[in-house]
């Protein structure tokens, strides 16, 4: 059961590092990298999802953790720099 009404909650935190560990649990369970999974998720690749038995809730959670991890770790920024370098 969660904290009782009126009782102060114990504060917990997450970081890019802890999200990375969470992504690792998904990757281990479903046998694919988070980047491959996310590409399939965004493309509605149902055969990839259903074929691996990834539940709807896990799909949603994995994708949202991955997006947050990219934002918090600066991966999105790094990808922008990489694209600029390739375009130059």
């Amino acid at each position: 059961m969660g904290p009782k009404k009126g009782k102060a909650m114990d504060k917990t935190y997450y970081s890019a590092e802890s999200l990375r560990r969470a992504l690792g649990f998904f990757e281990e369970r479903y046998g694919m990298s988070s980047s491959d999974f996310y590409a399939a998720y965004v493309d509605y690749d149902e055969s990839c999802m259903a074929g691996r038995g990834i539940s709807g809730f896990h799909r949603h959670s994995w994708a949202s953790f991955y997006r947050d991890w990219r934002r918090m770790s600066g991966e999105d920024f790094a990808a922008t720099v990489e694209r600029e370098l390739h375009a130059a």
Binding site: Y13, H60, S64
Partner: protein, 144 residues
């Protein structure tokens, strides 16, 4: 408002509907490090019965007195099977949608956590009634 006030509110909503977070999974609430109490996540299971729970994933941002759930998923799971799910995900079309037990997607409206929990209870009651009916012995015709 900060994220912890929002979490406290969520906790009250769970308790008010005679449900509880799954203790075995640990604390469902977490603040994003470095966000100064403005961003956080809820991830866990609200136990509804021996057989059912509501799986919850939310990414939340507080701005002033307002709260935005940029992402949410509420899935009713019965004996390991997802009976239905409500989602908001900006990468999908439409972003707000519902899934049935075959994970087929339908457009939906934004739903509050409280409403999702209320619907989950109703659906659970219907599912359990259906299962009870299915397991009953066929009634024999009465002798005249």
């Amino acid at each position: 408002m900060d994220i912890w006030e929002y979490f406290q509110q969520r906790d009250r909503e769970v308790a008010e509907q005679s449900a509880a977070w799954d203790d075995d999974l640990g604390q469902p609430y977490a603040e994003e490090q470095g966000s100064n109490g403005q961003r956080g996540r809820i991830f866990g299971r609200v136990v509804l019965s021996e057989h059912a729970f509501l799986a919850v994933n939310e990414a939340v941002e507080v701005q002033g007195s307002g709260v935005t759930r940029s992402v949410y998923a509420y899935y009713l799971v019965y004996d390991g099977v997802e009976l239905c799910g409500e989602e908001r995900d900006p990468t999908h079309t439409p972003p707000v949608h519902r899934h049935d037990r075959n994970h087929k997607r339908y457009p939906s409206s934004v739903i509050s956590f409280k409403e999702a929990l209320t619907r989950a209870w109703a659906m659970l009651a219907a599912e359990e009634e259906l299962r009870t009916y299915d397991t009953q012995e066929p009634r024999q015709p009465e002798e005249s």
